[in-house]
Symmetry: C3
Subunit: 229 residues, 3 copies
């Protein structure tokens, strides 16, 4: 499953007609995390290492994809499934969704999911989820920052479409440079971030779609993106 | 506009009678961000650089001002206007206010606003705002941490007065040392922050208003601040 | 009081029958912070230094305890009392609880409480609390991330029991390694955190309770923890 998601992102991310990628599931489980049968002692430490390395690799692929990766959650996201949600660029969920990191109940503390979760939600909420394994509901997830938006179950498709359309209405090249700098600046101290951010803004304005966007605004007409920067 | 705000802060921040500064707007736009006419290709990269450098400069002036700078928002705060709100010490907004970073719709991704926004709100909310350009409302802004407080439109003046009075009832010198250390410690690792914080507390107690505050408490009387530390 | 809490944690944290520690108060004040009579000029800077050093020491003891430390708040948590809540692993509070950092009103800015508070809640909320001294209520505290959960006053005991039971149902050794890595990874950059996290997961699976947890899941039976890792 991890290989498949990763390969699908890699294969499609440079297709100019693909403007964002939505991760969704059939049925009422978004993802319950790792297959615990791969984590038995019989499978051995080498396989365990491979499984967790692959998971990190997938998350890096999501972060470095040139287009937004959106989690569409309609049900349970647990353990590495919760990590996956927290690692997407945007997460939209239905009001029946729940989120948990219950690994400790199965003897394996959600240490790697916790890396993504505590960078998405307040420490007090992350520690509660990790130490108790208890689930939080969709509204708690929104309040905590684990998801971007919650909507009623029957509005989920429309809301995701809304988000995709908002992204698709912009220049692909501008979204790519914006996403790239967003993750770049998060880990910088604020002064370095601004010094670099000023340059990025000036470079953005010098691209063909940067110029077109400003011109279209000044000329009061819709922009015609080249999507090529 | 940026020059004017900056100069007004600099000119008034050392006036002992000024205890905090409120940034507000006439009408229902707090700030829609940069003037896009300054960002056309004709104006040239040098002017673009100057504009963004000035913006960072203004934000540094807000952070280093010895008194609190409060955003009073009653309407739209977009792009660099949203950055300005996120960069104030305190932000109070009315319930009709909205916040967005829609630059990508005009070909210029809100890369510098994103620096302030992602340091104020959860990453999942910041990425949603930046990648879609869609607005969030006042309650979403509060929930996310972009503003300190939301009140009904007709209570906004009173609430801002309330905050200003709370600040004005304290020693100016103590507020100044407190704000200074607050931004100093945020960027330190927690151990260094505590080591330095312990010193700051001891130094604070040794100031004249530190001694007066403790004495007034022990003697069960109102404090008489010198405001001079 | 600080000595007593610290000593009680140290004395009990390695008792295998103790699975978590709950900090609670009698009456409607969880903690109003430092005793200001210890902070008068007469007491002298050396005592002031000792008081704040002890406070940091206590917080380090909470962080490094091998079992979760839970704040059960049913009333006021102010100044260093608010810092104490923000420094626990989990905080559960009743709906009548309030939280504030009003030190500046007594001439002593809550600089050290601010270190814990701004690492728990959005910067905009922390600055509001510190600069105005105004209290926030239980729901605002939850929304901001200062507490993990809010319940009605008459449900507080049950909710804390619920959390304790959730922790006690797991392997003590797994909770210990999970808590330890949680605080370790928070301060790492995300790549280093994942590299280290992958190792921790593999090591966790190789412990006796890691193996037992996975086996019990595969064999569809309740786990029998050794609690010894």
């Amino acid at each position: 499953m991890m290989n498949s998601i990763q390969q699908n992102i890699i294969d499609n991310q440079h297709n100019m007609d693909v403007r964002c990628i939505v991760l969704a599931a059939k049925g009422n489980v978004f993802s319950a995390g790792h297959n615990l049968k791969e984590l038995t002692a019989e499978q051995g430490s080498d396989l365990h290492s491979q499984v967790f390395r692959k998971c990190t690799e997938l998350i890096n692929v999501i972060h470095s994809a040139p287009i937004p990766i959106i989690a569409k959650v309609d049900g349970l996201a647990a353990a590495a499934g919760c990590q996956l949600v927290a690692s997407c660029d945007i997460a939209i969920c239905s009001d029946i969704s729940t989120f948990s990191t219950p690994g400790a109940s199965f003897g394996i503390f959600c240490s790697t999911p916790g890396i993504a979760v505590v960078r998405a939600v307040p420490r007090m909420k992350a520690a509660y989820m990790l130490l108790t394994g208890l689930p939080i509901n969709a509204n708690e997830a929104l309040e905590a920052g684990l998801v971007s938006k919650v909507v009623q179950k029957d509005c989920l498709n429309d809301e995701v479409k809304n988000v995709c359309n908002a992204i698709a209405s912009k220049s692909r090249a501008v979204i790519t440079l914006g996403k790239k700098f967003f993750y770049e600046q998060i880990i910088l101290d604020i002064s370095t971030a601004y010094a670099r951010g000023e340059q990025v803004m000036v470079e953005n304005l010098a691209t063909s779609d940067g110029r077109e966007g400003i011109n279209s605004f000044v000329e009061k007409r819709p922009p015609q993106w080249s999507h090529k920067g």
